[in-house]
């Protein structure tokens, strides 16, 4: 199948700046900066909703002006170390290419995509490192973000030229889709393309993707064909899915809902488990429903990372849990965030303390940490409560905090 070879979004990625659809002002501002104004601001921050051409513009401009793009995006961890590892060398050797005599190359260009994805913990120091790179860089630095109003990016905004991207206007998208249809020999009704464009809400990328998936099977596209779009594109959130799931009148209804929803099924499984007791007040119903959820979880375990063909059994078992007794359904408030996440988050430090204690016991008594936890901790705890100055403390090399922890450990 030749048509499947390349994603159209890749195939028709703009090669030149003028090919980038819409956002004329932003384009002008950016090009002006890249050509002449780099001395006024060291970096540029492109921001706006997804799929409107931020990355496309950077690629097209680099192509046109002969820059080599060094790119980092959200999938890389942007700790200070990681940023420095990639970005430092890329921004420090501007002069080398100029000496090489090649007239085409203008050197490197550092592109940090999705900078709003820099998250608290993992990317600690990431913002500061980017800031430093911008200050020290000898080559243009371009940042892109979807939401520029995040507090932690504020320091970046001071040193960057801000370029705002907006949703691409519908007629422009339609024109682009028509062009692609022509090149791909797809006969499309104008209304169908209009529908796709409207449905995309100004996101060119998703419009092209929809066009490709709709015309995958045959080369004609009618308005009728676009009917499936609503369900595909409507992003059914976790809460909506849960609500639909728990109020389902039948197994079939629940299971069709599951196949439409785009929520992550691991998250969903946990949420269903969390909320099940609010849905079924009767112990009999709850036990029956939980039995199905348990079966679904067993299928999830068997799926692992490869047996995805088992997914239908997972959905089926889960759907059965929704329809144990449709008559007893009453609307209720959902528990969120997931209980497991909350509990494990709050108790992490306690667990690592206990873990340290158990490995000290394990060393002295030739047992694993698990055995230490089950067979020794309950007794040692009691001995320490009775004898505050027990020689066991020195024997196990417990720290005062650990002794305190053991003594205060609630009975379990």
């Amino acid at each position: 199948m030749q048509r499947n070879e390349l994603l159209w979004v890749e195939k028709y990625r703009p090669k030149k700046i003028q090919d980038v659809v819409g956002n004329e002002e932003a384009k002008e501002l950016f090009v002006e900066w890249l050509k002449n104004k780099r001395h006024t601001k060291k970096a540029v921050l492109l921001y706006g909703p997804p799929g409107v051409g931020k990355t496309a513009l950077v690629n097209a401009a680099a192509n046109e002006f002969g820059f080599t793009i060094i790119e980092m995006n959200a999938s890389d961890t942007r700790s200070e170390k990681a940023v420095n590892a990639v970005a430092k060398p890329a921004t420090s050797y501007v002069a080398l290419d100029n000496f090489s005599g090649s007239t085409k190359s203008s050197g490197n260009l550092l592109f940090l995509d999705e900078v709003d994805g820099i998250a608290g913990n993992e990317d600690r120091g990431g913002v500061a490192a980017i800031l430093k790179i911008v200050e020290e860089s000898l080559v243009p630095v371009i940042l892109a973000a979807n939401d520029p109003n995040i507090d932690k990016l504020r320091p970046l905004k001071k040193v960057c030229l801000l370029v705002r991207f907006q949703q691409v206007r519908i007629p422009l998208i339609i024109a682009l889709l028509q062009k692609i249809c022509l090149l791909e020999h797809v006969h499309a009704e104008f209304e169908a393309l209009e529908r796709i464009a409207q449905n995309s809400r100004g996101d060119v990328r998703s419009a092209i993707n929809d066009l490709q998936s709709l015309s995958e099977t045959n080369r004609t596209l009618t308005l009728q064909d676009t009917v499936v779009l609503t369900s595909r594109n409507k992003d059914v959130s976790m809460d909506e899915t849960l609500r639909g799931f728990f109020s389902a009148k039948s197994v079939a209804e629940a299971s069709s809902l599951l196949s439409y929803s785009s929520v992550d099924y691991d998250d969903f499984l946990l949420s269903v488990s969390d909320n099940l007791p609010r849905r079924y007040m009767d112990p009999g119903e709850l036990a029956a429903a939980y039995d199905f959820v348990s079966q679904a979880d067993v299928f999830r375990g068997r799926i692992g990372t490869e047996n995805w063909h088992l997914l239908k059994y997972f959905y089926n078992a889960l759907a059965k849990a929704a329809a144990v007794n449709p008559q007893s359904y009453k609307p209720f408030e959902f528990i969120s965030p997931p209980i497991r996440v909350m509990t494990l988050f709050w108790t992490k430090s306690r667990r690592s303390m206990l873990d340290a204690i158990c490995s000290k016991i394990g060393v002295q008594c030739h047992v694993s940490k698990e055995t230490a936890k089950e067979d020794f901790v309950p007794y040692i705890k009691e001995i320490l409560i009775k004898q505050k100055k027990s020689p066991l403390i020195a024997y196990f090399k417990f720290t005062p905090e650990e002794v305190d922890f053991l003594i205060k450990m609630s009975r379990f």
């Binding site: 488990s273 039995d291 959820v293 008594c365 009691e382």
Partner: protein
């Protein structure tokens, strides 16, 4: 590894037998092992299988003592499969060990590698282990310790002489406890010893720990049944009991919250919790034997699903929901009577 100079303070360590002759109640196993000791060159890889607290680790350490005497630590690598993450760590440590330890001591041409809780290793890890055993078999002997030999892959089993450890004899346990008590200048009353042996269900480690804790309760040096009951009460998993009771009385939400507490605060895994549930159910005096059997059936089912499923908290929640339904059915059966 523990420093040898220090005197062991946990009684399980202090009174851990140093020679095979001192080992409690394992005559058959000890006799066969002693035959190997007479001509160590013929000793094969060993697998010691059986329930906890019956002396598997002790026997393994005794063998090390008998083979290498005082210097046993230099020729013995002690690894715990459930602590070492992944076969790679195990492989590295074994490789390092066989590189740096002089293989052989006197007329013994090998070093000893004791791998505790080896049934905790995954299938692929065991396959890798088998390879390690093959490569290292000229310079080292393995002693694999496990609870269930069936969880060890066939090729490894066939390379080992297997010894099975069963529940210790009650009388032998009582005698051993009395013997320790005497050395520690503690007067252990016979009923108290009886109670400890009852509670520990053939697990000598539990029994000795209970004895030590009880004598810490009584400075005077007399351990009576009351003290023992107190210790057992304090040392038994209260949260697990609370969780079971809440579920059986129909308060599912509270039961589940307690379960997350146990997992969160103490880091117990699903299978550990389910094992404790099983143990506690049989101690509950207000359930009839039939009810215990029914509950045990439920536990068994979910214990199995736990090994198959992806989320142990979901499986445990489902089990608690079954308990809640079971509790309700008991209530209803009383109401109709």
């Amino acid at each position: 590894m523990a420093a040898t100079s220090e005197e062991a303070l946990m009684w399980v360590e202090k009174y851990r037998p140093k020679t095979l002759d001192e080992v409690v109640d394992l005559h058959d196993i000890v006799e066969s092992l002693k035959a190997f000791m007479r001509n160590p060159k013929t000793m094969p890889h060993l697998m010691l299988a059986g329930i906890p607290g019956t002396g598997k680790t002790t026997v393994a350490l005794c063998i090390a003592h008998e083979l290498f005497g005082q210097n046993w630590r230099s020729f013995t690598l002690e690894l715990n499969a459930s602590d070492e993450r992944g076969i790679d760590t195990v492989r590295e440590r074994i490789k390092d060990f066989s590189r740096y330890s002089r293989t052989g001591f006197g007329n013994i041409p090998f070093a000893l590698i004791i791998l505790d809780e080896s049934d905790q290793m995954t299938g692929p890890a065991q396959t890798a282990l088998r390879r390690i055993m093959e490569i290292g078999s000229r310079t080292s002997r393995f002693i694999l310790i496990c609870n269930q030999s069936s969880k060890i892959i066939e090729p490894i089993q066939s390379r080992c002489a297997i010894f099975r450890f069963s529940r210790l004899d009650r009388q032998a346990m009582k005698e051993h406890l009395q013997c320790i008590a005497k050395k520690e200048n503690v007067k252990l009353q016979p009923e108290a010893a009886e109670r400890i042996v009852d509670y520990s269900e053939g697990d000598l480690r539990h029994a000795i720990n209970a004895l030590q804790t009880a004598s810490a309760y009584r400075e005077g040096g007399i351990v009576d049944e009351k003290t023992v009951s107190l210790v057992i009460g304090e040392a038994s998993p209260m949260l697990v009991q609370k969780m079971i009771r809440k579920a059986l009385y129909g308060d599912f939400m509270e039961a589940r919250k307690t379960m997350y507490d146990i997992m969160g605060s103490y880091g117990f895994s699903g299978s550990e919790i389910i094992r404790q549930i099983q143990r506690e159910i049989f101690k509950m005096s207000d359930l009839t034997p039939e009810q215990k059997a029914d509950l045990s059936n439920l536990i068994g089912e979910y214990d199995y699903r736990l090994t198959q499923g992806a989320n142990s908290d979901i499986q445990l929640s489902a089990l608690l929901a079954q308990f809640a339904r079971f509790g309700k059915s008991i209530e209803e059966s009383y109401a109709t009577k």
